[in-house]
């Protein structure tokens, strides 16, 4: 970049980037543009499939108004935020611990074994995770209660009460996504040049100092990526919760996407559901921008 000669003659034509980019851009655009525009237009209409006899008149921003003044929308959004704030720190902390364990030299067989098994939760079908959750957290024949009995606690009716069900979906999410965080952290750790790490180890015996001074810069980009992907995923989280609790009992596990699905495909009020989904998209984009601004170096 500092080389002036390269600036004048980068070695490629003006249109070269275009040709490399065109296929992906065109494909995404062609597949995505119609549905996205359709959703945008739908969000401006009264669009209820079960009232198709009334037609689908334009109503301006009425759907957005309705969504913003709908207490359930805000409740479910707040619940989703709470879910994120519970699972994300746990996943980051556990993920980092796991990554450090895997990064530490020695015990090669165990390390390889543990690393390979990390892939299993990631690959497990979300819908199956939910079904599994229903089996594991069953009050009578669930294995979760066997474990807590082992530690001397009485059996819990996990899915039958609000706090238990919320905890149960958190546990399943942490199980499934901690490995993802761990792998990203691990690759960050392995980017630290060996000489620097060795030199630092000679100077300090404190793991904490090593982590914050030497390794942290290499972990931050992955950390941002994690935040962005997990935020987007939690806002879209549907399969696991739907198969596990359907958003119940009461509204204890009704996350925002469960609610939108309910409005969109149970009540069939697609005008409102589209408005909700687009608002959610805006929130996700804002969050992602925020993370990038604070943690990520912009792509040059």
């Amino acid at each position: 970049m500092s080389n002036p000669a390269r600036r004048t003659n980068p070695g490629y034509g003006r249109w070269t980037p275009f040709w490399f980019l065109a296929p992906a851009v065109v494909a995404l655009f062609l597949i995505g543009i119609y549905p996205t525009l359709f959703a945008l237009v739908t969000s401006l209409r009264q669009y209820n499939l079960t009232r198709s006899r009334d037609g689908f008149p334009f109503v301006g921003l009425a759907n957005y108004q309705a969504v913003l003044s709908d207490p359930t929308f805000w409740d479910t959004l707040a619940r989703t935020a709470r879910f994120f704030l519970v699972v994300m720190p746990v996943e980051i902390a556990l993920g980092l611990c796991v990554a450090l364990l895997l990064h530490r030299p020695g015990l090669n067989f165990l390390r390889a074994l543990a690393r390979v098994t990390l892939v299993i939760p990631l690959a497990t079908t979300y819908a199956v995770v939910g079904l599994l959750g229903r089996l594991v957290f069953n009050r009578d024949f669930g294995v979760a209660n066997s474990f807590i009995n082992l530690f001397g606690f009485p059996a819990l009716d996990w899915l039958g009460n609000s706090a238990g069900a919320f905890a149960a979906i958190c546990v399943m999410d942490v199980w499934q996504w901690t490995p993802f965080c761990a792998l990203i952290f691990l690759s960050g750790l392995s980017m630290v040049p060996v000489e620097i790490e060795e030199a630092a180890k000679l100077e300090t015996t404190s793991h904490w100092a090593l982590l914050t001074h030497v390794q942290l810069p290499y972990l931050l980009p992955g950390f941002t990526a994690m935040l962005i992907l997990r935020s987007a995923d939690v806002l879209k989280l549907f399969d696991v919760v739907f198969t596990m609790t359907r958003g119940g009992p009461g509204a204890a596990t009704e996350l925002i996407s469960i609610y939108i699905q309910r409005v969109g495909f149970r009540v069939f009020d697609l005008g409102t559901a589209s408005a909700q989904a687009l608002l959610l998209l805006v929130i996700t984009i804002l969050l992602a921008r925020l993370y990038i601004r604070f943690f990520y170096r912009e792509i040059e």
Binding site: P17, A24, A127
Partner: protein, 273 residues
């Protein structure tokens, strides 16, 4: 010295714990799939039991699960392959060239992953119905590209950026074209990143439920759709459900295990430079 060996024990213990926790739920699923209904509903749950193959016999008795696995395989392989073919050149351009609006373009790619399928399911359904694409592999493949491509672009851009520029300059002096550089240098050296993005692409499309529920009917029902179909609320044949779960999770897990050695090297997520 004592603290050293203590550390070693702790390290080993920690690794074992990681292994046990990561594998336990899946172990529970697999072992449940060999239980009879009576063993499954035993309270407290039983750990030792006489295994039965009855659940698998039931699962394979009708074609549904087998054909669902085949459908998922077709959709996942093709959507991932297409996304890689389309995404790697784009990632190359984003990693190597300077042009205006680059970071916005990069973000636009990523943001395609943010859209909730609930908003797009209906428009896509109507479009697919009009084009006669409902209940075909093609429609799922095309739709899945929209959320695999962002992952491919993201991971591969980061991976390509970690490749030293000197290699490229040497090639250029020998008269290599831009495409040669991409094809001969970046693709082979970026393989770990490409592999990781392919793994994630494969996992995501294998597991996708919402679009598949809406867009498929008889012929191309995918594995997750079939898995949820046993959960009719009417009967809960846990053994059969767990056997189906095992059958569905197995192929993708094996695939992921096979390529897992790339996993760490490829997930740089911008951690270079």
């Amino acid at each position: 010295m004592a603290s050293r060996s203590n550390g070693r024990i702790l390290h080993g213990f920690g690794l074992l714990a990681v292994f046990a926790v990561a594998i336990f739920p899946v172990y529970w699923m697999v072992s449940s799939s060999f239980k009879t209904q009576t063993d499954l509903l035993a309270s407290p749950p039983v750990w030792l039991f006489t295994p039965t193959l009855g659940n698998y016999a039931e699962v394979f008795a009708d074609q549904k699960v087998t054909s669902a696995v085949v459908n998922s395989l077709i959709v996942a392989v093709f959507s991932t392959a297409l996304a890689v073919v389309l995404g790697t050149p784009a990632a190359f351009a984003l990693a190597r060239y300077d042009f205006r609006g680059k970071s916005d373009l990069w973000f636009w790619f990523i943001s395609n992953r943010f859209i909730s399928p609930i908003a797009l399911a209906l428009p896509i359904y109507i479009l697919a119905q009009g084009l006669g694409l409902l209940d075909t592999h093609l429609v799922l493949i095309l739709v899945y590209i929209t959320f695999i491509l962002p992952i491919v672009v993201w991971i591969c851009t980061d991976q390509f950026r970690s490749i030293p520029k000197e290699l490229e300059e040497a090639a250029r002096l020998e008269g290599a074209s831009q495409f040669d550089i991409f094809w001969r240098i970046y693709l082979p050296l970026g393989l770990p990143g490409i592999a990781v993005s392919a793994i994630f692409g494969f996992i995501f499309s294998w597991n996708e439920l919402l679009y598949a529920l809406v867009l498929t009917r008889r012929d191309v029902q995918t594995a997750p759709v079939v898995a949820t179909s046993f959960m009719s609320g009417y009967e809960l044949p846990w053994g059969k459900i767990m056997a189906t779960g095992t059958v569905i999770v197995l192929p993708v897990t094996i695939f992921a295990l096979l390529v897992s050695r790339h996993m760490v090297r490829g997930l740089t997520m911008g951690a270079t430079k």
